[in-house]
Symmetry: C2
Subunit: 415 residues, 2 copies
């Protein structure tokens, strides 16, 4: 007979012992195993072009133009619907991408290595706020920024990360949680820590002074600069705990803008999906809930690994960005202890007397308590080509967890 | 008749409206008005060489060697006791210095301008933790670092600050309070924010790559890198509120290691002093309370202006450094509302629902409530030449406030 608690204990130890280091960068086609010229990765569970929401379509169209395969949005749309491009979840290739998460073969990605377990994870580069590819925008400003990444920022950061010998991302996340970040929607401290850590190696590249100046200016302008490397660190952490027979630990929660999907450690590569919810939050000036796309992005890998909304007590100032009160931030974290397996020994929350953040969702506990995981999220415009319109809170659909538990029961019956 | 509340309202508005900007750097003798070749500034109220405690003597001896006026500690001691050097409080020259605060004519200082009121304040450069001049150490490592400041780091930062057009220190302090700093003993976020803000201007100087590398390495290694510029910002803020007839606002609290002194807005340039207390805190490995010097330093300008221990609720993680529990941090801030005039509209504390930090000590309230201002502080070894041995909490002696109130009553009687 399978001992579920024992299996979960084994799985959670992998999570708690993970040692994600940012070790390098590379071009997706060269470094992501299985990546090929006609493969475009996207956020969330599997989806076809037909079912993709506006922002994900926009990001695919932008990526086709970025790749030089289309000259106009119209041309890009034709290629996307022709079947010429294979669409697959980032998560099935060891990768994660915020919002649309579209990662095409030529894009530079961060490489995070879990030095405890040897596995690697990948994520593309963060473009900043507002009109950006990951929110479905694709105009000249968006494509110009990606070109600058390729030609200047990526080679610089790649060299700097290599010169650093690897950056301890777990230590950085632990520090962020003592500095008002929750690591998902608020990464101001994480961005600041990454900049100050990498600065000496950035100049050690001996790049031209104007290249250095543009790089520091961009990094300083983007309070989500560290987000993608952080997400890859969470992915490298959770992947190590995947595939443990009998474990009911959730190792993936991800949204493609149409469907929400989860994966469970003991249930192999199956996705359990349901319709995405509408985030509840604050909108940028000129936008309302009417403009909002459904929940989207792989950034829920933060909550999956015990930070993000799960560690919201660390980040009371976040309510200025996603609505609510500082009390709500405390309550969110306190509630998440009800559905998680462990308290993370590395991630102490100061205001809770350094109690470890609630880590590792157990599908059984979600069903028993009826408490859904809380998620902090950005909100994308529902149409392609627009961008970010707000930020807020959201939950997964309950049926993902019900279906997963049912499948788990079947597995036990077969065992 | 003098309306004290009206006078305090006028004084506190000067505090709340202050706009301190880091605008430049210069050599003390060139930029501090009144500075001359034989003048050494120090922390706290006035003191003679004979009454100076170990760490302040150590810092004076180190400064004499740094200035090239002595070759050995013994030679330095002889010069110091000869009467050749004039010792004066930093505060009497618009300056502030952490711990011993010794500022000699050749030292580089930050220049902070209060753009609302036009006054300027100064502070020397922060050397990092442990064995440093401000804690009374003076060996080759200490003097070598100061030499490197003079030759390389100071010219670089001076140029970078000038290229920046001025750095808004008030905005930076406000952000720190949302990022787990209280701005006195914990400045990890402030340091990170200053590094990321200044980085593009540092490289814009077009200094050699190895110069840039050493600068970023040092800045990243020192979580108090921003402290001295921050202290000068607090000084520029409080100086604007000094000298208002009838005001019972405390504009200076400072320690010279032997005596604690305060100054009051409506009481001119008089100091009200009492013996310093022993800080209560945590000691570095190998040291105990037996090794500790009495309370020392001008860094209490932070508490005087409403941050530091007054904003400790913003920095629950600080208890790891100074002892205590996160609850204690909340209580400290809550208690300080009892003795202050205003809640600082610029400095919201997230966990207190963005309530403004308790700002502006009223000597009347201290006497009425019997509540002494709380102060976070570093702890120096009592002997010259050693350095920092710990950090903790301390309060001023009550008689400073009693004496000030008595003097105030006399002033009123004369009016």
């Amino acid at each position: 007979m399978i001992d579920i608690n024992k299996a979960n204990e084994k799985a959670i130890q992998k999570v708690l012992n993970a040692q994600p280091f940012l070790v390098g960068m590379g071009i997706a086609r060269d470094v992501i195993p299985g990546m090929h010229e006609n493969l475009f990765l996207h956020a969330g569970p599997p989806i076809t072009w037909e079912k993709m929401s506006g922002p994900m379509r926009g990001a695919v169209m932008g990526a086709l133009m970025y790749e030089g395969r289309a000259n106009t949005p119209e041309e890009a749309e034709k290629i996307a619907e022709s079947g010429e491009i294979e669409f697959s979840p980032c998560h099935e290739y060891g990768a994660v991408g915020p919002m649309a998460g579209v990662t095409s073969p030529s894009m530079p990605v961060y490489i995070v290595e879990n030095r405890e377990h040897g596995n690697k994870a990948f994520s593309n580069m963060n473009e900043g706020y507002g009109k950006v590819l990951r929110y479905g925008a694709y105009d000249e400003e968006v494509l110009g920024r990606l070109k600058w990444f390729d030609e200047e920022l990526y080679p610089l950061l790649k060299k700097a990360i290599e010169l650093s010998g690897g950056i301890d991302m777990k230590s950085m996340i632990a520090q962020q949680l003592q500095m008002g970040d929750e690591g998902h929607n608020r990464n101001k401290a994480g961005t600041s820590l990454l900049i100050r850590t990498i600065a000496e190696y950035v100049v050690k590249t001996k790049a031209d002074h104007d290249v250095l100046e543009r790089a520091f200016n961009f990094m300083n302008s983007n309070d989500l600069f560290n987000l993608n490397a952080l997400m890859a660190s969470c992915k490298a952490t959770m992947d190590a705990a995947h595939g443990i027979e009998g474990s009911t630990l959730v190792t993936v929660m991800a949204r493609n803008g149409t469907e929400f999907g989860i994966r469970v450690s003991g249930l192999g590569d199956r996705w359990f999906t349901g319709p995405v919810q509408q985030p509840d939050g604050l909108y940028f000036s000129g936008y309302t809930a009417e403009d909002a796309n459904g929940d989207i992005g792989d950034s829920t890998i933060t909550e999956t690994s015990g930070i993000g909304a799960f560690a919201m007590a660390s980040a009371p100032a976040i309510v200025q960005f996603i609505s609510g009160s500082p009390d709500m931030a405390l309550e969110a974290t306190n509630e998440m202890y009800e559905i998680t397996i462990a308290e993370n020994n590395a991630f102490g929350i100061p205001i809770l007397d350094f109690r470890g953040s609630p880590t590792g969702i157990d599908i059984r506990k979600v069903i028993e308590t009826g408490i859904l995981p809380k998620i902090n999220t950005g909100i994308a415009h529902k149409n392609p080509g627009v961008g970010q319109v707000g930020a807020g809170l959201v939950t997964p659909p309950m049926n993902c967890f019900e279906d997963a538990l049912e499948a788990f029961a079947e597995t036990l019956a077969e065992a």
